[in-house]
């Protein structure tokens, strides 16, 4: 879902850059001097894992592929603010070094595929987890948040492209959302499997202070 240069008008990509910078600035402020020694290796591992996972396109339907985004997974383990910094780093490296996503559109890509998951998705996860009491709430909460993060990202992407005057919203939004309702299932499945694996092998790693 990486938006290339050219899909967004100057007004739209400037707004998205401003939004991304504002949220990231707040995330850095909330993270700075608060990470513990135990967070450090997890930041490295998650950044590496999410980059690698985003390379793994899986066929979904009718000659279309999808890959996971990872924002909800990162936020569930690290917390929303440090996860936001990690996701932004992934998209910066992809855009600058791998031509995956544009530079003008980097703010939009960070916002859509990163921050919607790390902040919005984390909030959804946290809310569901607190409604369903006990440990059993964890996995449904992750699955729903991960799926919704992908669907909301596709909606945001559609709105930005439509606002840029490229294509009417009535055309792009249903097409994007319907295909990402399927792609979101990958996100939900991988996020649940990774957290289940950590819970089974190193449950203490899920007890990091959420920042």
């Amino acid at each position: 879902m990486h938006i290339p240069d050219g899909f967004l008008s100057t007004e739209v990509w400037l707004i998205m850059w401003a939004l991304a910078v504002a949220v990231l600035g707040y995330a850095i402020w909330k993270t700075n001097e608060r990470l513990g020694e135990k967070h450090v290796p997890m930041l490295g591992v998650l950044a590496a894992f999410i980059f690698a996972a985003q390379m793994l396109n899986t066929p979904v339907a009718g000659g279309t592929s999808g890959h996971m985004l990872g924002g909800v997974l990162a936020a569930v383990i690290l917390g929303p603010f440090s996860a936001s910094i990690i996701m932004a780093t992934v998209f910066i490296v992809q855009g600058v070094f791998f031509q995956d996503g544009g530079i003008t559109t980097l703010g939009a890509n960070i916002f859509n595929m990163g921050l919607i998951g790390t902040v919005g998705g984390y909030y959804i996860y946290y809310t569901i987890k607190n409604i369903v009491k006990g440990d059993s709430g964890r996995f449904p909460a992750i699955a729903v948040a991960a799926w919704l993060a992908v669907v909301l990202a596709s909606a945001a992407t559609s709105i930005e492209i439509a606002a840029s005057g490229i294509i009417p919203i009535g055309v792009v939004l249903p097409a994007m959302v319907s295909i990402h309702m399927i792609i979101g299932l990958i996100e939900a499945a991988v996020s649940v499997v990774v957290v289940a694996f950590i819970l089974k092998t190193r449950p203490d790693l899920l007890e990091l202070q959420k920042i």
Partner: protein, 99 residues
């Protein structure tokens, strides 16, 4: 970094980027598919602001396509691991609030 689970995590990520990625679907992703179907794909062509050193996850100049793709994946994975560690150290608290 004394707790060395990170080695396992990094190895898993490297295997994904270097080996499993070779079997990834080459089909367009959701946005590319919609752009193609709805006829706005050309808006994204020729507007690149900069040229990336490893466009589309290959290293130009390496003839062997498999090696080129694997090395690009490994490079990116190591870059992100390094960036994550550096960011973690940069945002680490002082001795008072380190937990």
């Amino acid at each position: 970094m004394r707790d060395n689970y990170w080695i396992f995590g990094l190895v898993v990520a490297l295997i994904m980027a270097a080996v499993i990625s070779l079997y990834a679907s080459p089909d367009p992703d959701g946005l590319e598919r919609v752009a193609e179907d709805k006829g706005f794909l050309e808006h994204g062509e020729g507007h690149e602001v900069m040229e990336s050193p490893m466009p589309d996850y290959i290293i130009p100049g390496i003839e062997n396509e498999v090696l080129s793709a694997s090395l690009a994946g490994v490079t990116g994975t190591l870059m992100l691991f390094g960036a994550g560690i550096l960011l973690g150290k940069a945002f680490r608290g002082g001795t008072n609030n380190a937990t």
